[in-house]
């Protein structure tokens, strides 16, 4: 049972070929492109949603920050669709792998920070010391702020990994418990099943929220630095 639980987080390979590449590329199939003014329902819905999200998210940035719009919108679409697809039975979720999330978080965070250091060096360095700190505390506070800066990409990646992995594990466990309880006591099974339903609804929400949070934080780091 224990081995079964973590089996769904192993990178899928088939005959030594990395199947995981196909699985990572699969969400792009669900977002077709079109050159027309009036599209089919699928594309119209996706375009409406994308406009809504991009207006809401890019409105806080200045011109320089808004050049990141494409990157951030692709990011939220990718994480959102990958998380939601992972809720299907038997599927593999790439965002449960820490390696993948670090690969997304570190370059984006580093890009924002390096942009800030190149274009607004004084202001970026000033971020290391909050306004109005008493003089004796300054050395310690600079160290703390440096640590908090360098922990940002790790926090981004680990937050996403932990949330999605924990949700999937909970679903596996409670689903297994429901099945095991079926032969013992029907009322308890019903209660557990309702818990499973509520958990699945929560997971749908978490899937989308995590995508939003990831992208929002990257955009905040960007806002600080442009």
């Amino acid at each position: 049972m224990n081995e079964n639980l973590f089996a769904s987080f192993i990178t899928p390979m088939m005959f030594g070929l990395p199947l995981v590449t196909l699985i990572v590329l699969f969400p792009s199939l669900l977002f077709p492109t079109s050159n027309r003014l009036v599209n089919n329902r699928l594309i119209s819905l996706q375009q409406w949603m994308l406009q809504l999200v991009s207006k809401q998210m890019m409105s806080i940035h200045n011109t320089k920050g808004q050049t990141w719009a494409l990157m951030l919108m692709s990011l939220i679409l990718f994480i959102g669709s990958t998380n939601l697809l992972g809720l299907l039975p038997h599927s593999f979720t790439p965002t449960t792998q820490l390696s993948m999330n670090l690969g997304m978080a570190i370059p984006l965070w580093a890009g924002a920070v390096i942009t800030g250091f190149r274009n607004k060096t004084k202001a970026s360095l000033a971020h290391f010391l909050p306004q109005g700190t008493p003089t004796p505390l300054i050395p310690m506070l600079v160290i703390i702020e440096t640590i908090s800066l360098f922990i940002q990409p790790v926090a981004l990646a680990v937050r996403l990994t932990a949330n999605i992995t924990a949700g999937h594990l909970l679903i596996h466990l409670i689903g297994g418990a429901t099945l095991a309880l079926m032969s013992i006591n029907t009322t308890t099974t019903l209660i557990t099943f309702i818990i499973l339903i509520l958990l699945t609804v929560l997971e749908f929400a978490v899937a989308m929220i995590q995508a939003y949070v990831f992208t929002l934080l990257v955009s905040l780091y960007l806002h600080d630095n442009t």
Binding site: A7, L30, L42, L88, H90, S91, G176, L179
Partner: protein, 102 residues
């Protein structure tokens, strides 16, 4: 009218000619890519790119995805089932537990 074998569609090929028809197909990378592209556009134009497309167009793709993932993990699921058989009695619940829908 005599159509050469190479240009016949699959449903028009007679059963005896089938092996030679398969061998004559284009198995170069660009040929295979072309086959995937044609298949994708056939599905897309039939079920998605229509005026009143419904949820079925997307659902069929997701159902196929679930099915392919099940096929991929079938071996592991049945191996853990064998472990259950070996360790003791197996109830019908256990079978469902292993091949469960989650």
């Amino acid at each position: 009218m005599n159509v050469p074998l190479k240009e016949k569609k699959l449903l028009e090929v007679k059963l005896g000619e089938l092996p030679s028809w398969i061998l004559m197909r284009d198995f170069t990378p660009s040929g295979i890519a072309g086959a995937f592209q044609r298949g994708y556009y056939r599905y897309y134009n039939k079920y998605v790119n229509v005026k009143k497309g419904s949820i079925a167009g997307l659902s069929m793709v997701l159902a196929a995805y679930v099915f392919l993932n099940y096929c991929r993990s079938y071996k592991e699921l049945s191996e853990s089932l064998l472990d259950c058989f070996a360790s003791g009695g197996v109830s019908p619940d256990r079978v469902g537990l292993v091949h469960r829908l989650i």
